[in-house]
């Protein structure tokens, strides 16, 4: 009853809002007379939080900055929805052994300041981003390239011994070669990521100023950044790439919360939303009709096991059957439908949807809800030590509800005591993980860096990988992942990774829970709104109505 009532309220509100716009017209709305006709110079607005850092190609790792950067910079290649590559600034990208790559640039490209985009623009930018002196957060992306250690020694406080990556060689203005340490078939896909974008000469004079006012080579050029209020970018008319903007520009508007942004979308002050807040999830389909968006998002939520914790390591390492049992004790289908209101989709493996090499049902039975089998497995594995577990999570991320639900599910189906171990915020959560103080298990989410399945495996489960914070280590798996990483071709690599994923059932480094979905929407003024695998709207495709 309650649901029906609130829906009516909202419906009433829409009628009023519509009537209001029909009479007076909103502030930012122009003349809506010719409905449907597209204005090629139309400017639209997108909800966006304040980018956390300066807009440096090598340091933009969170979603707010990334969206702006995706408009301002074009990389050599980009990937399509099916995971295959599309050439952007590159004319061609060729390799015979996946170790030495030759890049040919499209001629005639310029930066927004008019200077040409040459091989040097790329090579210098990569050298700068990789150098430990500049402390760029994405520097490790260059670690495949020969000579990375000289620029970026791993030990704390070590000084770089070179200022150029040995593996990069400029052949002429539009050609350069990349020599890697070994064969990396997925390297072509990695090149689509923002640290591999070129930088203009003017950048190096004052990198800090350039981070406030970036000059790129992308379909949009930078106009202004009014901190915590808005960022404006406008179409770059000299753009030569295939993804030319179909609109005149974008205004990124900053909101204090998703609810506020949603209200502005409904009242016509905002055109594109990246995410609908929890409060509005039950009603957004009804509110927005066919302007509501549900799309796949290549990210996964899981519960990782802190293998170093006394519970799992003493007196002997835990039997994998116990973890398998716990996984089968979770009723994913019900939780995603009820507690998470359909915003997630039960996971059937460790690799998220929408990436190359995703396979249905990789985990087999382990992700199916089966209390009887779960009990059996846990018993066969010697039971959960202490018969209780806890799941660490950060209280500021809206995770409490589902952690409670997962715990309830485990408790009810196998009788293992389960509690949420709440850390006040993400910082405290991370610190506990980093200093190996997680008591039992922890929430672990991963969203794609590049759309190849290896990204969800090597970066999370290899011994010592940055994303492997639970102390999981298995020589057999390491060897398999290594073999997949260094396979000769991408196809082969993807295949080997697929096998490795299937093998994970034997080790259970984490319990996959569910895949993310994009729940978003857009206003009446725009059309052609599509979302990419990372959950961001694709800016250049959006058309603005007159």
């Amino acid at each position: 009853m309650r649901g029906a009532k609130s829906a009516k309220w909202v419906a009433g509100a829409i009628v009023v809002a519509l009537a209001a716009t029909a009479c007076g017209g909103g502030k930012s709305d122009g003349d809506k007379g010719a409905a449907g006709a597209v204005d090629p110079n139309g400017i639209f607005s997108v909800e966006l939080g304040e980018p956390e850092k300066l807009l440096h190609t090598g340091d933009t790792m969170e979603s707010n900055g990334s969206l702006v950067m995706s408009g301002l910079f074009s990389t050599l290649v980009d990937y399509k929805a099916d995971g295959s590559l599309e050439m952007i600034n590159a004319e061609s990208l060729t390799t015979t052994d996946s170790k030495t790559w030759t890049v040919k640039l499209k001629p005639g490209w310029t930066f927004h300041d008019g200077t040409p985009v040459t091989s040097k623009s790329f090579v210098d930018a990569w050298n700068w981003n990789a150098n430990v002196k500049n402390a760029m957060g994405l520097a490790s992306w260059f670690s495949d390239i020969k000579g990375f250690e000289a620029l970026h020694p791993e030990a704390e406080g070590a000084k770089p011994t070179a200022d150029k990556l040995e593996g990069l060689k400029i052949v002429d203005d539009t050609t350069f070669t990349i020599e890697l340490k070994g064969s990396v078939p997925a390297f072509g896909h990695k090149l689509a990521y923002i640290p591999f974008a070129p930088l203009p000469e003017s950048f190096y004079k004052d990198p800090k100023a350039a981070g406030e006012k970036p000059v790129g080579n992308g379909p949009y050029k930078f106009k202004s950044w009014d901190h915590k209020k808005k960022i404006e970018i406008v179409r770059f008319d000299g753009y030569k790439g295939p993804n030319k903007a179909k609109n005149g520009g974008v205004v990124f508007k900053n909101y204090t919360g998703l609810e506020a942004a949603y209200e502005d979308l409904k009242s016509g002050n905002l055109d594109v939303l990246r995410q609908v807040g929890p409060k509005d999830l039950p009603v957004y389909h009804q509110d927005l009709g066919d302007r509501a968006v549900d799309a796949d998002h290549s990210a996964i939520q899981s519960i990782a096991v802190a293998f170093y914790a006394d519970q799992w390591s003493k007196p002997k390492p835990v039997d994998v059957k116990v973890i398998q049992g716990l996984s089968m004790a979770i009723d994913r289908a019900t939780i995603t439908k009820t507690v998470l209101q359909g915003t997630r989709e039960p996971a059937t493996g460790w690799v998220a949807k929408g990436v190359l090499g995703y396979q249905e049902n990789a985990a087999g039975d382990v992700t199916k809800f089966d209390p009887a089998k779960a009990k059996e497995l846990i018993k066969a594995g010697g039971g959960v030590p202490g018969n209780k577990i806890s799941i660490q999570f950060n209280a500021d991320g809206g995770h409490k509800e589902w952690v409670d639900a997962v715990c309830n599910s485990i408790q009810q189906s196998v009788g293992v005591q389960c509690t949420g171990d709440s850390k006040p915020d993400f910082q405290a959560d991370l610190a506990a993980r980093k200093s190996k103080q997680v008591k039992s298990m922890y929430r672990s989410a991963w969203s794609l860096d590049y759309p190849v399945n290896g990204n969800f495996l090597s970066d999370l489960f290899k011994t010592g990988a940055a994303g492997n914070q639970g102390g999981f280590s298995n020589k057999e798996l390491d060897a398999k992942l290594q073999a997949a990483e260094s396979a000769k071709t991408l196809d082969e690599s993807v295949k080997l990774f697929q096998e490795a994923e299937k093998d994970l059932v034997k080790y259970m480094p984490s319990i996959p829970l569910w895949y993310y979905k994009v729940n978003a929407g857009y206003g009446e003024k725009v059309s052609g709104v599509k979302y990419d695998q990372a959950g961001d709207p694709i800016l250049n495709l959006i058309e603005v109505k007159k």
Partner: protein
């Protein structure tokens, strides 16, 4: 009087040092590492972390960090830079304070006029219908949490009636701030009304009132000067401390109405462990509190000539 003011101003120095010191160490002792937080789930190698720490001066011992911070503030009026985006803290504060002051001023004007107005009506008619109506109204306001009031106002005036925009835009127009100001000032309004009412109802029975009436002074003068002036002391005390609270405590209201003010910055700096931003903000708020409390103490002497400061 002059000496009194000078002494109070000098007292501000140890208070200022003490609060900055406390906040600085509290942020430092919170669990979590701001540099690690920069890299989120994906982590970073030790070399990058070390380089970043060095760049931000976070590799120094805490005493030295505090010393550097304070000398920079005092000598150069430099509050440092933010860890996340390297923006100067003075600039961040400069962005957040104008809108917050605008909002606080509006809320303050609102609570001042309506609070005292309602209080006078209720006080003069103590025990009668108007008094009871005001009491019930203020009780209602006090018992509704701020965010509920905020959502109700939005629901009714923005969505149902369409009189206002649901959110404050980035242009900082005064008219957009009226609704949030009402929500923000609502609670204090109730307090002010009740304080005024009680104080007036009590003073109505005072000897000097009887004398004033017996002297045959016009009613306006009796109430406007004799009664009001004596009844305002507790109200002024409350209003003074409320200015600081309106500026620093508007986190919820700011969040509901999409205002990018001080409250939001405080919240964000705590979750991100932005020590320098937080200390800068709190320092300014402390100064606001100190100055207003000094002004209030001076106002006492104006309201009640018997109070003198030597």
């Amino acid at each position: 009087m002059g000496r009194y003011v000078a002494r109070r101003l000098l007292q501000m120095i140890p208070v200022f040092l003490g609060t900055t010191f406390l906040i600085f160490f509290m942020v430092y002792s919170l669990p979590g590492d701001p540099v690690l937080g920069l890299f989120g789930d994906k982590g970073a190698d030790p070399a990058t972390l070390a380089a970043k720490r060095h760049e931000l001066g976070l590799d120094l011992p805490i005493w030295q960090q505090y010393w550097n911070y304070m000398t920079n503030i005092i000598l150069h009026f430099d509050f440092g830079t933010q860890i996340r985006n390297g923006r100067p803290v003075t600039e961040v504060l400069g962005d957040a304070f104008p809108i917050t002051m605008q909002l606080a001023a509006l809320a303050f004007a609102f609570e001042l006029t309506f609070g005292i107005g309602l209080g006078i009506i209720a006080g003069l008619k103590a025990g009668r219908l108007a008094d009871n109506a005001v009491l019930i109204f203020t009780l209602l306001i006090m018992s509704i949490p701020v965010f509920v009031l905020g959502f109700i106002i939005k629901m009714v005036f923005a969505f149902q009636l369409g009189w206002i925009e649901p959110n404050v835009s980035t242009e900082q127009n005064w008219d957009e701030l009226i609704a949030p100001a009402i929500v923000l000032g609502g609670l204090s309004l109730a307090y002010v009304a009740r304080l005024t009412r009680t104080s007036m109802a009590e003073n109505l029975r005072a000897d000097y009132m009887r004398t004033a009436v017996a002297k045959g002074l016009p009613r306006r003068r009796v109430i406007g000067v004799h009664l009001m002036r004596n009844s305002m002391i507790p109200v002024v005390t409350f209003l003074g401390t409320d200015i600081g609270a309106l500026m620093g405590g508007a986190v919820v209201t700011e969040g509901i109405f999409n205002i990018k003010g001080v409250g939001g910055v405080i919240y964000e700096s705590i979750t991100r462990r932005e020590g320098s931003t937080l200390v800068g903000l709190v320092t300014i708020l402390v100064i606001v509190y100190l100055v207003t409390s000094l002004l209030i103490d001076l106002l006492y002497a104006v309201l009640d000539p018997r109070i003198r400061y030597a």
